[in-house]
Every structure is written in structure tokens, then in C-alpha cells.
């Protein structure tokens, strides 16, 4: 399968502070890939490198076969980019901005744009600056879809959107991807609606990719167990545990270890037999697993 994005040992730092510590990932043609991580994990820095707004300090980063820092204009035509915060020329009207962008894209799909913006029920002569964040997101998405790009990069698409607009956004995107077979790389720190949406996930934490694979594979291999807080203090040095989150009475321990193996590890660390015998894996959705892997703080 054709790799649209390739990052190999990608490193970047602001001044002397390195924020990306050798990222390795590829985005293959087709499907929706989520680059997910908490605030400050390095998502936007990665996107900025991909789009040539930053140059990596070392490593390789190519997009559609071109070095990301020097993407030629004809290749940019194939990339639909959603800038963080739905940045647009908001001094222009809904119809004015469509005319502006249409001039740059030979395969411009005007009907698609108006199909999307007609749903926000505002006159087309209205300036974008007078639209709400949700309405602006629809206009911006419409502009990207109308480009008919081969690859879409959506940087923090959920920023400022309420749950209704988030779902609307994703629904449209899903339909579009299914119809036109476009590849999407999106970043988000809101996981709620992405559960049934992503074909592949990349978890990024403190500038490192800590998981790269399908959601199903991740959820079937990542476990959570609940044990009393006092017992959790015995297993702080256990290497099989990725993260421990503390509640009032219970601690949730997360890791890639199955129940039987975990029971053996807990036994080795001297956890009370009653706790080991009653140990059960908690059921996790993507958001639970995300918090379990990334931590709350």
C-alpha cells in the first residue's frame, strides 16, 4: 500500500528543549488515522513539520513523497489542511471565500461546499467573522472537502466545537472518506466521538509515539484492573504497569498484561491474595484506555 506520510526518527526542539524525540510512523493510503495525545504532547508540532511550517532538527519527514519542508505547489493541491482553530480569511463572506479558493484548485467541487454550508442556514453573503465557531467549522470543512484532496490533515478539529458540531463534522467527514477514498490524518485531544471513527490510532505522549495500530488491536491488548489503594503502593515499581490512576478508595492500574499474567505479577509483589483472586479486567472504551495510557495529570 502507498505511504502518504512517512516520519522516521523525527526530532524537533524549540531552542535547546527537544519536544519530539524520534517519532516513527507512516500513514498509508485510505482510512482515517488519529494522532491522539494530551495538550502539549507534540501533535501540533508534528503537523507543523508535516506542513512545512517547521523544519525538523533531524530525521526524515515526507508527505506525498516530498520532503515536508519543501512541498511543491502541485502537491499542496492534493492536501487539504485544517489549521488549528479553524483559521480562515474571516473578513470574507461565505460565497466570497468559495470563489477565492476555487481559483486555485482545478478539481474544485462547488456543490459539495454549498451542500455543507447550506445546512448552517445563514445567508451566503454573511462574513465568516460573524459566524459561530461551529458554523465556521462547517465552512472550513466545506472548503477542504471541495478541494477534493488526496490527503486531509485536520489539526485539532474538535477545538471550540460543542458535541453537536463535533458529531456533525465527523459524520460528514466519514461519508466523504467512504465516498472519495480520501486519507485523513487528524489530531485531537477529545476522544469521545472518535471511538467508532478511526481506522488507525497513533498515541503520542511527551513527544514519542507510544502506540501505533488499530483501535481494535489496542483495546484487545490494553487492560485496566481495579485494586485497593493501599495494595497499589506495593506495585509502584512493577514494569508491566503502564500507569496507575488513583481514586478515593481504589486505584486503577493499566497495562498490556492479561489477567493471569497480571495476577502472577501482583503475587510476586506481595499483593494480598484476596485482591489477586478477585482481580477482573475492567471493560474499556477508547476514551478510558486513552486516559489510562496517557494519565489524568
Amino acid at each position: 500500500m502507498n505511504d502518504l506520510i512517512v516520519c522516521q526518527d523525527l526530532r524537533f526542539g524549540y531552542g535547546k528543549k527537544e519536544v519530539l524525540h524520534g517519532l516513527n510512523f507512516t500513514v498509508e493510503e485510505g482510512g482515517i488515522v488519529g494522532l491522539l495525545g494530551r495538550n502539549g504532547a507534540g501533535k501540533s508540532t508534528t503537523i507543523n513539520i508535516l506542513m512545512g511550517f517547521l523544519e525538523q532538527t533531524s530525521g526524515k519527514c515526507s508527505i506525498l513523497g516530498h520532503p515536508s519542508y519543501s512541498i511543491p505547489p502541485y502537491a499542496r493541491r492534493e492536501i487539504g489542511l485544517l489549521h488549528e482553530g479553524f483559521i480562515q480569511y474571516d473578513f470574507m463572506s461565505i460565497e466570497g471565500i468559495e470563489k477565492y479558493y476555487a481559483a486555485f484548485y482545478p478539481q474544485w467541487n462547488r456543490d459539495l461546499y454549498y451542500d455543507l454550508v447550506s445546512r448552517i442556514k445563514v445567508p451566503y453573503s454573511r462574513k465568516i467573522t460573524r459566524l459561530s465557531c461551529g458554523q465556521r467549522s462547517q465552512v472550513t470543512l466545506g472548503l477542504i472537502l471541495a478541494q477534493s484532496p488526496k490527503l486531509m490533515i485536520l489539526d485539532d478539529f474538535s477545538m471550540g466545537l460543542d458535541v453537536g458540531y463535533r458529531r456533525l463534522f465527523l459524520e460528514f467527514l466519514r461519508d466523504y472518506v467512504d465516498t472519495y477514498k480520501t486519507t485523513v490524518l487528524l489530531t485531537s485531544h477529545v476522544i469521545q466521538e472518535l471511538d467508532s471513527f478511526l481506522d488507525k490510532i497513533l498515541f503520542i505522549k511527551e513527544g514519542e509515539i507510544i502506540y501505533d495500530g488499530t483501535k481494535e488491536a489496542f483495546l484487545s491488548s490494553f487492560y485496566a484492573y481495579t485494586i485497593p489503594i493501599e495494595e497499589s503502593k506495593k506495585i509502584l515499581t512493577c514494569k508491566e504497569i503502564s500507569n496507575i490512576e488513583y481514586g478515593n478508595k481504589y486505584a486503577h492500574i493499566f497495562g498490556y498484561t492479561e489477567k493471569e499474567a497480571m495476577q502472577r505479577r501482583l503475587h510476586a509483589f506481595g499483593v494480598h491474595e484476596r485482591v489477586i483472586n478477585t482481580l477482573q479486567a475492567d471493560s474499556l472504551n477508547l476514551e478510558d484506555a486513552f486516559v489510562g495510557l496517557m494519565g489524568r495529570y
Binding site: N48, M51, G52, F53, L54, E55, Y69, P73, Y74, A75, R76, R77, I79, L81, H83, G85, I87, Q88, Y89, F91, M92, G96, K99, Y100, Y101, A102, A103, F104, Y105, P106, Q107
Partner: protein, 230 residues
């Protein structure tokens, strides 16, 4: 592969510039008309109170530059046009949009700068023509009105520099470089607008040549986007 013509792209950029400029672009033109009218009334007042000879003597021997407000309009107009065009273009990281559109970034950048310099040029031509009309009302001889008109030339150049410098200052996000541009722009504009008599710049061509690099200042500042600074 389908190709988009340069003409279509240029037209799109022009349309965007028109959206930004159309409402407030007229302000310097209105001020220019007001200041030219003020100059006309001033000369008319001198003629009415003291006679034409007093006006002629004042202009010939003292070389009083009573029309200095035109200089403000030309320099202020340059700053004004740059603000109208580049504040909406550069604020809130919007400059990134320009660098993502699928054409060489020089095309939209120099189309925008070209539009701004053209409008600044039209303002200058308006001031020049308007001032000529004022002077011709008083039947000044060529030996007097030509140097008076030539006094406006470095001011026109100052207006163009003010435009380019303001555009670059707006696009620049590094504070040290921004301050350096402000300082450099101020030095250029001060130098070009400083005069104690009519047609003080005999070798204006050389000064104009020294101002040419300002045309590239906006692109240089905007490239900060490629350094992650916008």
C-alpha cells in the same frame, strides 16, 4: 492534470484585496482632498488679504511649504493601506493560509504588494494632480510651480516606503526584527520627507534605487511562517 491559469489566480487575489480595501481605502483620498482644499484656501486668503505679490514673494523667497499636510497624507496613506491589507492577512496565524495555497508563495505576496503600491501610487498621482490644479488656479510661472510639484516626489517615495515597511512590520512576529524594521522605516521616511525648500532632492533617482529593497521586505518577514513563528 488540470491547470489553473495565472490570470485566474491573480484575479482571485485581486478580489480578496478588494474585499479588504473597499470600505476604508477612501479615507486617505478624502483627507487629501481636504488638505488640498486647505492649501487652496490658504493661498486664496493671502491673495485676498495681502495681494498676489505677497503670495509670490512668500513662495519664491521663503519657499514656504504650506502644503506639508499632503506629506502626511502620502505617508499616512501608505501606512493606512498596509494596515488594511495586512492586518487581516497576518493576524491569528492567517499567513499560514497563504503559504498553503497551491501556488508559489511569491505570486500572492507580490500581487498583494503590487495592489497596495498601486493604490499608494494612485494617491500620489491624485495629490500631484490636485496640487497642480491648485497652483494653476493662481497662474504661477513654470519656474515656480515645477519645483513646488517636484517637492511632492520624495514624499510619494516616502509613502511607498511607509507602505512596505508597515506591511513588513505587521508580518514580522519576531519582536527584535519588528523593532528593527520600525526603526529602519522611520529613518527612510524621515529622510525622504525632510525638506527646507522646494525640490530639495536633485538626485532622487538614487534615493529611489535605495528604496527598492523595501519591496521585498514583506516577503522576507512573511517567511517567518516557515520558521514556525506565525
Amino acid at each position: 492534470m488540470n491547470i489553473v491559469s495565472q490570470k485566474t489566480i491573480f484575479r482571485a487575489v485581486l478580489r480578496k484585496e478588494w474585499v479588504k480595501l473597499r470600505i476604508l481605502v477612501w479615507v486617505p483620498f478624502l483627507l487629501m482632498i481636504a488638505f488640498l482644499f486647505d492649501t487652496y484656501m490658504r493661498y486664496k486668503g493671502i491673495v485676498a488679504l495681502h495681494g498676489a505679490s505677497a503670495l509670490w514673494l512668500d513662495l519664491m523667497y521663503k519657499q514656504s511649504i504650506t502644503f506639508f499636510k499632503v506629506e502626511w497624507v502620502l505617508v499616512g496613506g501608505g501606512i493606512w493601506f498596509a494596515c488594511l491589507q495586512f492586518l487581516p492577512e497576518c493576524s491569528h496565524k492567517r499567513l499560514r493560509l497563504l503559504f498553503h495555497i497551491p501556488v508559489a508563495h511569491q505570486l500572492p505576496i507580490y500581487s498583494m504588494t503590487g495592489v497596495g503600491l498601486a493604490v499608494t501610487g494612485v494617491l500620489f498621482l491624485g495629490a500631484y494632480g490636485g496640487f497642480y490644479a491648485v497652483l494653476s488656479r493662481f497662474h504661477f510661472p513654470e519656474e515656480l510651480y515645477v519645483p513646488m510639484l517636484k517637492t511632492l516626489l520624495p514624499w510619494g517615495l516616502a509613502g511607498a516606503v511607509a507602505y512596505c515597511a508597515t506591511a513588513a512590520v505587521i508580518a514580522q512576529t519576531d519582536i527584535v526584527r519588528k523593532l528593527a524594521l520600525v526603526f529602519l522605516g522611520y529613518v527612510y521616511v524621515s529622510f525622504l520627507s525632510e525638506t527646507n525648500g522646494f525640490d530639495a532632492f536633485e538626485d532622487l533617482g538614487w534615493y529611489a534605487l535605495c528604496c527598492v529593497p523595501w519591496i521585498f521586505a514583506f516577503e522576507a518577514a512573511a517567511l517567518g511562517v516557515k520558521e514556525g513563528r506565525a
